[in-house]
Amino acid sequence: MNNKIKKLVPQVLTILFVILIFGFFTLNAQVNMDNRGIDFGFGFLKQEASFDMQFTLLDYDGQDSYAWAYVVALLNTLLVSFLGIIFCTILGVIIGVARLSQNFLIRNSAAWYVEFFRNIPLLLQIFFWYYAALRALPLPETAEPWFGVTYMTIKGYYIPSMIWENLNVFLSCLLAAIVSIIFIRIYARKLQEREGKQLPVFYISIGLLIILPLLSFLIGGVKLDFELPVLKQLAQTSFIFEGGIALPPELIALVVALSLYTSTFVAECVRAGIQGISKGQKEAAASVGLNPNQILKLVIMPQALRIIIPPTTNQYLNLTKNSSLAAAIAYPDLVLVFAGTALMQTGKAIEIVGITMLTYLTISLSIAALMNWYNKRIEIKEK
């Protein structure tokens, strides 16, 4: 009996505490909203947003609703995160491997790279790229082409856009290639288990990925044209590039800063993963008679990835959350558009901040759940 009370009392107290805090806040919020004549509700989402966005992936203009503005802004956030993740992975793996190089200069350069970019606050890095580095770029009329057809100017990076004919034929060919690769992999595994024969799966996959889309060009009637950015004079001294795709400087600064900053953490994860595998594993694999390629593919990588992937996913999550710093340089991401402009216009502080937080929470928790599932799947099953 005594024991039961001992367990019950702290729990009841905790729950009471939580209920009291929430109750207190709700009560105050109600009083405050009544006084200011605001009512709680999500009806505003259907209203016309009547603000413009600098850069969008989907069609958007001021007449669309707040809900659509939310979707467009969320896509902008996801675009930055996606680009950042790709670049930080590439950089991070290179730097992480370089930190273990036997070459003194490479090892130390990589170490300094990590120490340098890791120890400067991300916000300052974003500001540096946006306000200082990218402002030193040439004006459109004086810009020299990079790679012949792209232009890096103070107003952004202009690249050619692709104009497809029969895009769906091309896409279905690509899909067919991927599906057939999956089937071939399954077949190859079965073949190996049954007869011990090995198929060159990698080369077959590469071949399929190249040949099938190529066929669509030759037979399927797919055509690809490029629309090049062309310099156009607006007034005496004002020039602009037309055509192609324009990547705004905000996006570039954000992606550069995010990928440089996060790549240092990814590099540390990669280094820890490779160092975490004992030398004995390699020697044992060699003594069983595997060749160096097989050692890397069958023994080292599966174990290293097990150590590398969970913390790296964590870094990707951090990058996604850090992409919200976009608000500081006016890149139209979720925080700037929704928690900034939309909030100022509607005054619905509780609803809008709530939706924004819930969005990030959903992204984080779903990736965390995915990671837990993955960890369970790959963990070493001890008897």
Partner: protein, 422 residues
């Protein structure tokens, strides 16, 4: 000239060393002269070959030098550390050349062509950096809009707080048991009082200075200091809560931790500045700075809790069993047996959390508190000082880099220290 790699290995090693060192020095000399004195000694070669000449020469030189054992210490070191294979030789040369190329422009921008004299923009005539800008704005970057003649108050408050932080070292043996009590309870209160009465003023004949005038690096320190001392006890309670057997306590802690870890700090700051006032009673006013400190504390406490939980989990079960078998209750067991050991384990992790906290503080700029990033934005748009964004951000980056690098080195040292003890 026809050089094949097989030929290099068979010929006389000493000749190879001479030829190799000569070619390598020639390559480095070429790049050095070109980047420092703008002298192109290989201009007689056609276009692209001219560009790649040092790389080719250096590469051939390094492959001449490469051998198992030469007897010369320098050559052996070079071979072992920077020249073990063709691929490495190429990378080595690229790094050396990049550094050589980058030094002169960086040096001339930062030092040689830079200006530091004078008090106005017109003093900056050179093509390099304008450090005059930093010199003129230095006080603003450090103290924000805090009145110039009152800066001694900030300085003395910081000195007092730091001095009180070291008091623990001089505790006598019989007072040692109160050390934790001092740091967790008494010290934060005293520090708060000092900062409140000295920096805010308003009593003891000191002029009241609004928090809106605080800013610059000193605000960064104030915010990170308070968040640091408040988030640690909160994180400890949450970590214990998450490990608790009581379902209600456990799930409340889990919800708290996962919620704060799942949202970006910037939305938390937005919440503190626009949403939180709605949750308070009407006539109750809370200063913006206090709201921001509370928000960051709640946010960082979740990260702190996860680090401490890691330490609690790392302790062997035997410690719990042993404490229980001595008849200790939950609190006694945790205070005297579990926490002292667990906290020792997580010191590096905690240090990393604090490092992240310091790096996060510039974010308070987005809710309108002018710490160093905010002051830079202000100075940048001042019509008298347009066009010096680069200098400002480089200055701030250097300051933060020094602070964060020192902290990370310190945490690494702690890690090494406690690693060997166990």
């Amino acid at each position: 000239m026809n050089i094949s790699l097989s030929k290099i290995k068979t010929s006389n090693p000493i000749t190879n060393i001479y030829i190799g060192s000569f070619l390598l020095s020639l390559a480095i000399f070429d790049v050095f002269v070109y980047s420092f004195f703008d002298l192109n000694i290989t201009s007689f070669l056609p276009g692209n070959l001219n560009l790649f000449f040092p790389l080719i020469i250096g590469f051939i030189g390094l492959s001449f030098i490469r051998m198992e054992y030469s007897g010369i210490k320098l050559i052996d070191n070079i071979n072992k550390h920077i020249n073990p294979s063709n691929f490495n030789a190429l990378l080595t040369l690229l790094i050396i050349f990049t550094v050589l190329k980058a030094i002169p422009p960086a040096l001339s921008w930062m030092v040689l062509d830079a200006n530091i004299s004078g008090d106005t923009k017109s003093a900056c005539t050179g093509t390099g950096a304008c450090w005059t800008y930093i010199k003129v704005w230095f006080k603003r970057f450090m103290y924000g809009m805090y009145p110039n003649e009152l800066h001694w108050r900030i300085n003395s408050a910081f000195i007092l707080v730091i001095a009180l932080g070291f008091v623990g070292y001089f505790f006598k043996e019989n007072l040692k048991k109160y050390l934790a009590l001092y740091y967790v309870v008494i010290y934060p209160i005293i520090a708060f009082l000092i900062i409140y009465y000295l920096i805010s003023g308003g009593s003891f004949g000191l002029v009241w200075v609004e928090t809106g005038a605080w800013g610059g690096l000193s605000l960064t320190f104030i915010v990170s200091f308070f968040c640091l001392i408040f988030c640690f006890p909160l994180g400890m309670i949450l970590a214990l809560g998450r490990r608790s057997n009581l379902p209600a306590v456990k799930y409340v802690s889990i919800c708290y931790i996962e919620f704060w870890r799942g949202v970006p700090l910037i939305t938390v700051l937005f919440m503190s500045s626009v949403m939180f006032p709605m949750f308070l009673p009407e006539d109750f006013f809370m200063d913006k700075l206090v709201r921001v400190i509370i928000a960051i504390t709640l946010f960082e406490a979740a990260y702190c809790a996860e680090v401490i939980r890691g330490g609690l989990q790392a302790l062997p079960r035997g410690q719990y069993d042993a404490a229980k078998s001595l008849g200790m209750g939950y609190w006694k067991m945790h205070i005297f047996v579990i926490l002292p050991q667990a906290l020792k384990l997580v010191i590096p992790g905690i240090a990393n959390t604090f490092l992240a906290l310091v790096k996060d503080t510039p974010l308070i700029f987005v809710v309108g508190l002018a710490e160093i990033a905010g002051m830079l934005a202000l100075a940048k748009t001042n019509p008298k000082w347009l066009g010096f964004a680069m200098e400002g951000y480089i200055f701030a980056a250097i300051i933060f880099w020094i602070i964060c690098y020192a902290m990370s080195k310190y945490s690494y040292n702690l890690e090494q220290k406690y690693k060997t003890e166990r």
